[in-house]
Amino acid sequence: MERYSDETVIVTGGLRGIGAEIAKRLYSAGASVAIIDMADEENAPEAIENMHLTSEGGNVCRYYKCNVADFEQTKRTVTQIAKDMPKVTMLVNNAGITRDGLVMMMSEQQFDDVISVNLKGAFNMIKHCSRQFIKNKCGRIVNISSVSGLSGNAGQANYSASKAGLVGLTKTVAREFAAKNITCNAIAPGFIATDMTKDISAENNPLAAQIPLGRPGEPADIAQAAEFLLSASYITGVVLRVDGGLGM
């Protein structure tokens, strides 16, 4: 596909799960992909090989180790990506962690850690990438939020606060940069099948049974929505639920 030739998407948390699926899909569509994650550089090639990237174009995929919660690290990394790769026009803020616990048991550290990665990490990336987007006269940002941020979820005060924070961040960024052909949208995944939940089916899990579409989502379902939002030029500030109808 010609669509993304000579454009780069940065995917944070892109070595595993939903992030890896998004990286793979955009790579297949012809975009160059800069994956940011926490694994050491020597472990990354194997993880990337396991993603089985395929493309007919001349696009590239590179890995950058970076803690998105660290302002200076994100600044250096984005500068380096801009030097190494074709023009940076897309960003997917997918990096996220959980440190679950009921409020009464949750430590200050648990709360701060999750906010730092999930929310401040997205701010750091948007801030530093925005210079590239303005320079390249185009920017498409997708923040991976969560239904937990829209409805709340017992045991996830930190996580749902960070994911709700992403919704506010998304809408503000959408407004601030709208005049510069920079869009910003969020995806709120519902119950997504990962390694951890792969044995759960609609038959034996009460949560899955509540999903109108009758199955948990796959990372590919989120990747499809991400590619759509990254390619849309007249959609900004939306929160797209990808949850099989669970949130209706």
Binding site: R131, I134, K135, E176, F177, A179, K180
Partner: protein
């Protein structure tokens, strides 16, 4: 020197003669918004070969020139 470079780049941007750009000209009056100023400073980075991360409000051409000159020192 900085002023001349800034005036040249702004004149190109809004399509006027550099002599019409004064130190006291306000960006707003020239139809240049705050994101345009960020964009302009990135052009100036290439032109002047220094890193300019705008971290303060600049209202006039003179403000931007002062900011750049302070960074050069």
């Amino acid at each position: 020197m900085v002023f001349e470079t800034v005036a040249k780049i702004i004149a190109e941007r809004i399509d006027c003669d550099p002599s019409e750009i004064k130190r006291e000209s306000a960006f707003r009056d020239l139809g240049i918004d705050s994101l345009d100023i960020v964009d302009l400073t990135m052009n100036l980075e290439d032109e002047l070969g220094i890193e300019l991360e705008l971290d303060q409000k600049v209202e006039t051409i003179g403000d931007l020139v002062d900011f750049i000159e302070a960074k050069q020192e």
